[in-house]
C-alpha cells in the first residue's frame, strides 16, 4: 500500500507518484479497466448486428450530502448514466468516470464511493472502462464531483422517442415517486427533519429491457430525475405534440414523502428521483408491460397513472379527486420550501 494519506492533497493531482498511487489503489484496482492505455478499446457482439445503433450519453453528478440513505454520489453517477441509456432503449455497456476531488476529501470516503460505483456497475451489467481524476483546492469543490459518460447499443427494431407517442397511450411509472428528493432534503439536516426514507436510486437497464421484451409497442420512456415526474411529462408532451392527463388518485406516493411535502409546502410531482422512469405504452400491451415491470424489484410498484390525449400540444394536466383539473406546468427555477 503506497497510499498512506488519510486525505487527498494537491499532490494527488500533481501528475507524480502520489497521483499514480491514488489512481492505482483507489480507482484502477477497483474498476479494473481493460488494458493499460489511456483509451479503452471496445468490442461487443451486439455492435455487429445489422441495424444496431450506438447510444452515447454524458451526465455530471453533484449531490449534498455525498452519502445518504439508500445511496451515494458514486451509485447515482452509475445509475444516472445507465438510466439515460436505458430509457432510450439501449442496452448499457460501458462507462467512463471522471472525478473532480476537493483537497481534503477523505481517502476512505473516496474508496467507499468508488466501491459503490463498482458494485452498482456490476449489478447493472456495465463496465467502467476509462476515467480521470483532478484535484482542486479546498473551497473550490464540494468534496467530490463525478462525470460519467456511457455507451450502449440499441438493437435493431427498437426506436423509442417522444415524437412516437400516440393519443391513447397509457402513462406508466415503475414505483413510488419522490423518495430520492425527500430523502436528500431530510439527509441534508438543515431542515432538521428525520425520516426513514431511502433514496430510490437504482439502475434501470435490466428493467427497461424486460419491459421492451414484454411490450415492444412502448413508444417512449424518460427517467424522472431533476424536476421530477412533472418535468419529464412536460418535455415528452411537448415533443409528442399531445396533451397528457394524469390522475391524482393514481399517483404512487409514500406517506413520508407526502409528509415532507406538506411540512415544506412542496409538490411531490417536482421532487427528484434517481430510479424512476415514466413510459408510454399502447393500451393493448399495458398489462404485459406492467407484469414485466412488477416482476423485478426496481419495478415492483409499477402502476398506470394517466394517458396521452389529443389536445393542446405540450399540456400536462392532473385530475383532482373531486373531478376538478389543474395544470401541471414546468418548474420555474428550483422548488423552495415555503411557510405560506
Amino acid at each position: 500500500m503506497a497510499l498512506r494519506d488519510q486525505r487527498v492533497t494537491m499532490a494527488h493531482g500533481g501528475g507524480g507518484r502520489a497521483m499514480r498511487d491514488l489512481i492505482d489503489e483507489v480507482f484502477t484496482s477497483t474498476f479494473q479497466p481493460p488494458g493499460s492505455e489511456d483509451q479503452a478499446r471496445l468490442m461487443d457482439q451486439a455492435l455487429r448486428e445489422p441495424g444496431a445503433r450506438l447510444a452515447f450519453t454524458t451526465d455530471s453528478f453533484v449531490v449534498t450530502p455525498l452519502e445518504f440513505p439508500g445511496g451515494d454520489i458514486g451509485k447515482i453517477a452509475v445509475c444516472g448514466t445507465v438510466n439515460d441509456l436505458a430509457v432510450g432503449g439501449a442496452r448499457p455497456l460501458w462507462l467512463s468516470a471522471a472525478f473532480i476531488i476537493e483537497e481534503g476529501c477523505e481517502v476512505a470516503l473516496l474508496r467507499r464511493i468508488v466501491a459503490s460505483m463498482a458494485a452498482e456497475a456490476e449489478a447493472a451489467g456495465v463496465r467502467i472502462v476509462t476515467g480521470d481524476t483532478k484535484v482542486v483546492e479546498r473551497g473550490k469543490g464540494d468534496g467530490v464531483f463525478i462525470t460519467t459518460s456511457g455507451i450502449g447499443v440499441i438493437p435493431a427494431g427498437v426506436d423509442l422517442g417522444a415524437a412516437k407517442i400516440a393519443a391513447g397511450d397509457l402513462v406508466i411509472v415503475n414505483g413510488v415517486l419522490g423518495d430520492h428528493g425527500a430523502a436528500i432534503l431530510a439527509a441534508r439536516g438543515d431542515l432538521a427533519l428525520s425520516t426513514d426514507l431511502q433514496s430510490d436510486c437504482a439502475a434501470l437497464g435490466h428493467l427497461m429491457q424486460a419491459a421492451l421484451a414484454a411490450a415492444p409497442g412502448i413508444t417512449a420512456a424518460r427517467d424522472c430525475t431533476r424536476g421530477g415526474l412533472a418535468s419529464a411529462l412536460n418535455e415528452m408532451a411537448g415533443e409528442a405534440g399531445l396533451s397528457v392527463e394524469i390522475d391524482e388518485t393514481l399517483l404512487p406516493l409514500r406517506d413520508e414523502v407526502k409528509g415532507v411535502c406538506e411540512i415544506l409546502g412542496l409538490d411531490p410531482l417536482y421532487l427528484a428521483n434517481e430510479g424512476r422512469l415514466v413510459l408510454f405504452c399502447p393500451e393493448a400491451q399495458a398489462e404485459a408491460c406492467l407484469a414485466a415491470l412488477r416482476a423485478r424489484p426496481e419495478g415492483a410498484g409499477a402502476v398506470i397513472i394517466g394517458r396521452a390525449k389529443p389536445g393542446e400540444p405540450g399540456r400536462v394536466t392532473m385530475r383532482t379527486p373531486f373531478g376538478g383539473s389543474r395544470i401541471v406546468d414546468m418548474l420555474v427555477g428550483e422548488q423552495l420550501p415555503r411557510i405560506c
Binding site: 432538521a192 427533519l193 428525520s194 406517506d255 413520508e256 411540512i263
Partner: protein, 93 residues
C-alpha cells in the same frame, strides 16, 4: 399564508426549553411546545397539534373536528331529502 399541518406530539425532548418531537406522516421534527404548554408537558404526548414553522401552535380539538364532519354528513341527508322532495314533485306534475 401560513402553512400549517396536523402533527402528533410523540415525545418531550427538552422540558426546560419546552421542546418536543412531532410526527407528521412518519416524518419527525423537533418543535417548540411553547404555544400549547399550559399544563403538564407530559399530557401533550399523543395529542395532535397544528404545526407551523417549527411550533405547535394549537392542539387540535377532535370533538370539534367530529362536529364539523357530522355537519357535513347531515348536509348530505338534508340534500337527499330535498332531492326526494324534488323527485316527488316531478312525479306529481
Amino acid at each position: 399564508m401560513c402553512l400549517g399541518i396536523p402533527g402528533k406530539i410523540i415525545a418531550i425532548t427538552d422540558a426546560g426549553s419546552l421542546m418536543g418531537m412531532a410526527e407528521i406522516s412518519g416524518v419527525r421534527r423537533e418543535v417548540s411546545l411553547a404555544p400549547v404548554a399550559v399544563g403538564p408537558l407530559e399530557a401533550l404526548i399523543g395529542q395532535w397539534a397544528l404545526i407551523h414553522v417549527g411550533f405547535a401552535m394549537a392542539i387540535i380539538d377532535a370533538d370539534e373536528a367530529a362536529k364539523t364532519l357530522q355537519a357535513l354528513a347531515d348536509l348530505g341527508e338534508a340534500q337527499e331529502t330535498l332531492d326526494q322532495l324534488a323527485a316527488a314533485e316531478r312525479a306529481l306534475a
